[in-house]
Symmetry: D2
Subunit: 372 residues, 4 copies
């Protein structure tokens, strides 16, 4: 298992940067993450003249599945050409014919679980945005009810899969064949907690409370009673209490147990953005300056994590449509009770932006290229 | 046809008021209009201790269709009893057994077209919130693609149907067996234009432009791509341009032709409320005071229409969750170009509130009872 | 001190109900709470034909301070009369001349601290919506920086002041001369925690976390950078971390210490509504049914508190524009970690609705009259 | 007067492109347009390593006016340096010392009217985002109540000023010393109407109706009753009816008279974006394909104007946070009544994006550089 410990290599030891860009493809272009991924790759300075292959769903007959990116995501249209970016039906022949070296999967987790082994077999690296490959322990993975065609092969790949949080696993990502891109909630909470846990400041006996709030895009593009404007607007609701499936990522990445952390998501009446308010106790009375130092040191080489100065705390507005995660904190006068606030855009740093950050690392480029 | 001319009886000649309240029933309790109707009737001062019978969809087996109002519309729950208001499966036996005298239909128009003749046959009066019975001319009605089991009977009922806009047809409504409750957009536009057309001030040759904007509840409760929060929020879009089916109501009620009026709806990123901006030219140069007088006279006995004083214009915020229609206007310095602004809550004055206003008239009560 | 213990009289021992309604007055009609209070009193079934006197700010010359309610709160206008509800300049003569028996203060806390003794001296009862009289301990009250003209008199009144949370202090409110209406956040948290604390189920050593979120109306009507649409919309931010002034109310009403509770407010991008997510540990392993029983018993005679059945949790949408507080909970599988969710409309159950509930109690009426 | 006729040079005759980028400065960095301008220039590929000088307000003492961009616009912060972009107090010495060649003014119109002559005297080109220099006719300009220190000089500069709508005045902009950047509403309406008026298709006798709707950022950053979240949210209101000051731009740029066009703005409950619905009659019965051809020809060399294919119409969501103007139309079955829909982001194509487009033209670069 490639990322059994938090490695957090903060010195940017980049392998030799690729001078030619890899051919890329995106499968699952129809959803929100797929659209953002297309936007980022189409404007990536290293990929000029080397647009990603855009792929639709599997199994659709050719005749019906020819669409254009601008039909599904009209905000991405270019002037003077409404058919600039065709979407092709998914097929392995098409992917290999175009010489794809890196395949992004913005597909449901069942689909990702099926396709990843098939891609790896063909020598294609994968950055998977689903939850299918993030979890090493099958008890955690059980929430996804995944089925494997070849259980042994899948188990092997699972061990090899790198959890694609660059701030925690930069080195492993650089050399990975399979990157499991983290969950949006998980990213926001991990980036806040990892530095303090690494510094062994947190009283884990007392337990950590993560009260997280997300915009509606996190619930996906399928129209449901929950995503109906009339339900989501002017509302706030808690959901998946004690049972959200991003919890497993927190446990595995932070090396803690389920009774040491509570994570409660809420649905915010906004399109995008996550704010996590995290409550914990420190082992000993601590100065605010010491917390600042821990965070600054941890993120000194991380261009996509911004620390907000006390008394300012991150706000969703400051990170929406950016690839940053903003962190801040407040420490009680007793020097013991700490509140961390973490904000990111669930579709960018929480999904597609982080996926491109992983691509950059895999190519030996600066991790923030195309993301500022 | 009961309402072939705008009758606008502004003197409140009420028939003898009922001293005992009628038994009522609502079919189609699950939608937004059904929920608002339940709320209004449950709190109506004349209906204390006489709650409406709440009915679900037709054809559901008894065992599955037993619900409670508080399951579907939790905002209507009462303290201490989560099963205060059962919803019964629709059946004519149940309706007649409970002695229903007035049946509200908050059902799709196909369903209303089917059920109205069956109710009238049983001696039950109907207030129908769908578009099924609003239009006298079959060319206008064609947009609804209605089918009648008994065409002759339907034609007869259609002639008898009263367009349920109290400010235009108060007298007919008092004595109606079948009230076709107006469309939300239509109500907002009719209430603005009727006084000026009656006063023959409008240059119809020039044509009238109605640029209307509605909150998302107008699009119904079914989750669709259009009602998804991610589409509706932070957005504005025109739709059904040159083809919205409320147009027929405008033509019939205002006695104008389709080349004399243009109606363009837009979807606003808010839950409820309609604002219509209406552009027209006057036949002759006119003073603002004369317009004010026309409106004041027309609505002097209308407790649910409020005129805003120049230079103030109606705003959606002032009418949301009220049963009022607010009207205002601005006249160009040339005394010729007039802009009318009309606002109402599409679920109340544009639907359920107007339905209760019609019930009040049919019972000989003050039309605003239970609506202020 | 009238309310040193949680008395929670749940049997409705009403004193003889007043048969004639008291004359009322509202000072501070311009704000959101003042507007909601006017709406509730104007429609109160016991106050028909007995409208409250509406009063503006002190010290304004007569000529400039004459306004109409419909100018400031156009949603409250009546048809056909744009000057139905005059607002008079504040003066004690005017208040006593109209025979005011109960004065509502929807004024800044400095103003309330000044006016309350003057009202009591004149034999006028007061329901004060500000924070000026809620706190018995001067250390808690220090956040308001209040000054008293007559410190002894103020101290005496402070002792006599009843914290106006009917579910906790019904009896004292019935006989009070001075009711200090609770803070909006405090109400939402107190109603969730009081039953469990009274039942001695909570592990106070571990500490309670209250992560609360409020709509923008809670920030008041003054236009500021924080209440600007561009800051509040599509955003979420924590504020007043470790320092919100409603904290004192929690400590005094729950008889706990500041290290036993943490309260963090957030600003939601919605007009109104509060949702509080409250995290605590139980002293011993407990069944969900036992929690339900504690809540049901505590609120069996409380018509404005609704319990949501597991697994449903309260949502803001269900309480907006109602006078209810909705409560729900989720218990971890370990039977130890409990999450309470509490929702109310900050302007109604969190302010003006609760104020009218207090008026009802003071008059010997059913506490929910005019509030359903 | 440089732009008395619509010149619409659609062939991209670019002068020799600058190989070294000009030094730029932005005055008025605190507002929304200033912030967006900073963002665009900081990321402009031609300006790498050549950041704009950021300037605050005039007249502030040095000690108080030193701020950082990230204090005012935290979304623009970079990781690891909270003081990356200092804001200097405005002074001509500072501007000339840094070698500024192009000065952007995102200042109130009075300020722009004062500073433009002072900049031009110093040989500095200006792109002014205010309304101060857009209007050639003093009757139109009167709405701004401008005062000139040197009336003759101002009159001369006014004549020289180029209206900075690239799609209409590309050639003049390339050689301009003073570009008056268009108003946001005006841009959205002009881009829709100019092609049809140039093609002489519009029945001007009948008159044009422009029903426009804008997000709240158009109302500026000053906290007012109108921009308060509680007023703007869940609302829609018409304002400045018959009197919005962008009207003059429409008259001058389209060479029509005030009785030939009516423009009514509305305030939308969203942060940004404008949608204009434009109603007109064609001189003769026309095919939709002919309209499409006129628009396509007009914009064939305009990379920032996108035409939406019938039946799709532009929506605000598709242009928010882009530098595009999207255009679409619907033609009535009579071939005579035309509805144009135009959408843009008021802060980008309606302000700062268009300003950078003008900079690109002035430098001989592709007009879309840094804007896609």
């Amino acid at each position: 298992m490639a990322n059994s410990t938090i490695s957090m290599t903060n010195v940017l030891e980049q392998p030799a940067a690729r001078t030619t860009a890899p051919r890329t493809a995106i499968a699952g272009i129809g959803g929100y993450a797929g659209g953002e991924l297309a936007r980022l790759l189409l404007h990536h300075p290293r990929l000029r003249g080397n647009a990603p292959t855009l792929l639709g769903r599997a199994g659709e007959p050719e005749s019906t599945s020819l669409h254009y990116l601008e039909d599904i995501h009209p905000q991405l249209a270019v002037a003077g050409d409404q058919h600039a970016h065709p979407i092709l039906p998914f097929s392995w022949n098409r992917i290999t014919d175009t010489g794809t070296e890196v395949l992004f999967l913005a597909t449901p987790h069942e689909q990702s679980r099926e396709w990843v082994p098939q891609a790896i077999e063909r020598g294609i690296k994968v950055i998977d945005l689903s939850g299918a490959w993030r979890l090493q322990h099958h008890t955690n993975r059980a929430v996804y009810k995944l089925k494997d065609a070849n259980a042994d092969h899948a188990a092997q790949l699972q061990q090899e899969a790198v959890y694609g949080c660059p701030e925690l696993h930069r080195d492993e990502i650089r050399n990975a064949r399979l990157v499991a891109n983290p969950g949006c909630y998980a990213t926001s909470i991990l980036l806040a907690l990892a530095p303090l846990l690494q510094a062994e400041l947190v009283d884990l006996e007392h337990g950590i409370i993560c009260d997280a709030k997300s915009g509606v895009s996190g619930a996906g593009k399928a129209p449901t009673a929950k995503t109906h404007f009339m339900h989501a607007a002017d509302n706030l609701s808690a959901y998946a209490v004690f049972g959200h499936r991003h919890t497993g990522e927190l446990l595995e990445q932070l090396h803690i147990t389920s009774d040491q952390i509570q994570f409660t998501p809420h649905l915010l009446p906004i399109p995008r953005g996550i704010l996590s308010t995290i409550y914990l106790r420190l082992k000993t009375k601590t100065e605010a300056a010491a917390i600042t130092t821990v965070l600054q040191n941890f993120y000194q080489h991380s261009p996509l994590v911004r620390l907000r100065n006390t008394p300012h705390l991150p706000e969703i507005q400051h990170i929406v449509r950016t690839n940053f995660c903003d962190l801040g904190f407040a420490l009680a006068a007793d020097g013991n009770r700490l509140i961390l606030v973490s904000c990111l855009d669930n579709l960018l740093k929480g999904a597609s932006g982080q996926a491109v950050q992983n691509l950059n690392l895999m190519c030996g480029w600066n991790e923030e290229e195309g993301l500022l």
